[in-house]
């Protein structure tokens, strides 16, 4: 149900809200617009004052420099690898655990789920130092493994999947069990196919989190062959402050995939964010 607080005005009449919303929307898009324009501007024009609003010609040299003079392509590959393994592992492990905690009776279940929920309260900053020390003993530091391992599973993912499985009617599974299927078959053939919306939500969260993660790679990875794209970008920021066309090209490469993904999965995205807020 949508609450229309404006007026009884019919839909066709132009609304005064446009006068408010159009400038606000423009303001929100402006940074992206600048980013795209700057990424295809000739480098010299970006340092002029006042800078031209529209570049005099389209120049891709920022992208060329990015891909030829830095390891950006490698970093992009690393990021894709981290995000992919995060998503796959999250989907598998969190749906299994969520189902187990929601539906199976076994010793230690209550303690287990309670402890997992309690960890949501622990700020990640508290964990950075000991995790770094732990990973350095496991010889994971400076390797891509350091970026991947913390993203294999999460308390939030388990909680999200558990909530979803609790909301499914039990009768669906009971008929399967009566027909002689075991738990694994019930889970994989009956329950999981119904969980697509929850899995999509989990995938979106995991993608956003793992793709954009900066602090942890910053701490755990100093070897630029194992950099993620975000870390590489942040590093540019320190070392190549004035090469704006290159920096913006990097920004476009790091952000565009997520923007496109957002535009495609917008509905699920918004539902996901609402869920994160109300149930997180």
């Amino acid at each position: 149900m949508t609450v229309d607080t404006t007026s009884k005005a019919p839909k066709s009449r132009p609304s005064g809200w446009h006068l408010l919303l159009a400038p606000v929307a423009l303001l929100f898009l402006l940074p992206f617009l600048q980013m795209f324009l700057a990424s295809v501007s000739p480098a010299s024009e970006l340092l002029k004052f006042p800078p031209p609003i529209i570049p005099s010609r389209i120049d891709f040299s920022g992208f060329v420099t990015l891909f030829t003079e830095s390891d950006a392509l490698l970093w992009l590959g690393n990021t894709v690898l981290v995000a992919t393994s995060a998503i796959v592992s999250h989907l598998v492990l969190c749906s299994l655990a969520g189902y187990g905690f929601a539906r199976l009776a076994f010793r230690g279940r209550t303690v287990g789920i309670f402890m997992i929920l309690a960890t949501i309260m622990i700020p990640t900053q508290l964990l950075m130092i000991p995790t770094y020390l732990l990973f350095s003993r496991l010889r994971l530091i400076d390797s891509l493994g350091a970026a991947i391992v913390p993203w294999l599973s999460s308390a939030f993912g388990i909680f999200l999947m558990r909530q979803f499985f609790l909301s499914l009617p039990k009768e669906l599974e009971e008929s399967g069990l009566i027909d002689g299927a075991n738990r694994w078959q019930v889970f994989s053939r009956i329950v999981l196919p119904l969980a697509k919306p929850a899995l999509a939500t989990l995938a979106i969260f995991t993608l956003l989190g793992s793709w954009n993660d900066l602090v942890w790679p910053l701490i755990a990875i100093n070897n630029d062959h194992a950099f993620t794209l975000q870390l590489g970008l942040a590093n540019f920021q320190g070392t190549r402050r004035t090469e704006w066309s290159l920096l913006m090209a990097g920004n476009v490469v790091a952000t565009l995939p997520l923007i496109l993904f957002f535009l495609i999965a917008q509905k699920q995205f918004v539902a996901t964010m609402t869920l994160s807020g109300l149930k997180g």
Partner: protein, 316 residues
Amino acid sequence: MTTTELPPAATAPPRADQPDRPGRRHDRRRAALTGWLFVGPATLIVLGLSIFPAGWAFVLSLEKWNGFSAPEFVGGKNYSRLVTDAEFADAVLHTIVYTAMFVPMSVLAGLFLAVALNRRIRFIGIYRTAIFVPFVASAAATGILSTYLFNPQYGLVNNVLQRLGLPAQGWLEDPAQAMVVIAIMSLWGQAAFTTVIYLAALQDVPGELIEAARVDGAGSWQTFWRVIWPQLRPVTVFVTIWQTIGAIQLFDLVYTTTRGGPLNATRTIVYFLWDKAFRSLDFGYGSAAAYVLFAITLLTTIGVVVYSRRKNMEAF
């Protein structure tokens, strides 16, 4: 929230008057095995990467250790050192300043945008997309964009100011303004979050309430304050807590814009602890700062929850 899904027979404890059926113990062991096969891997990872490190962090916070030489137990010394450390006090102050700017701004902006976006007019989809899409931008990308847009020499913001006949500002290079810029850019990236929560809450306001207010002759302003706003209070408490926790933990955007500068004006608590642990290699001191951060977060959350309970605005 209920967790018991199984038929009572399976969960009821074995009673003395019931003969223990043969194979029952076997069944239970089998159930435990199945259960742990399902939940084990994820549970192991989550607990192994949180409970264990959290405990270790506490031990570390009682030690003086640089990662190489033997750790030295110093008890509460790291904590007492924090209390008198002017640098830490500054970091706390900067964090408070940022939180005080960002949280009200983001809650108000979310409320305002949600009300504005919650109607059926043309292009509403485009407006919503425009406000939601910055949410996907990373801190690194947002940081780089910020330094470009707010560049004092050729940035868009000063360009616009000059065209309007206003004086150019130093922005991220001015100690008094740097945190303001960071707050503005956080708002740009985060506005979608509070907006979406408020949008969902607005759609849960019963239509009859609004109808009734209309019939009683209330204007839209009155309807909003007297009817809709009271219904939004629990959500307001929730987003305030959520945004406050996020604000207290500010780091990424500081790192990718100012690196704590200019003149340390944007060094936050997390920046301080990162700097102590990973640059000065003072793991004990960094861990103590992390525990203080944890305590602040917890106290803030409890404070807001207690306050809202007293005011009858339960959010949880």
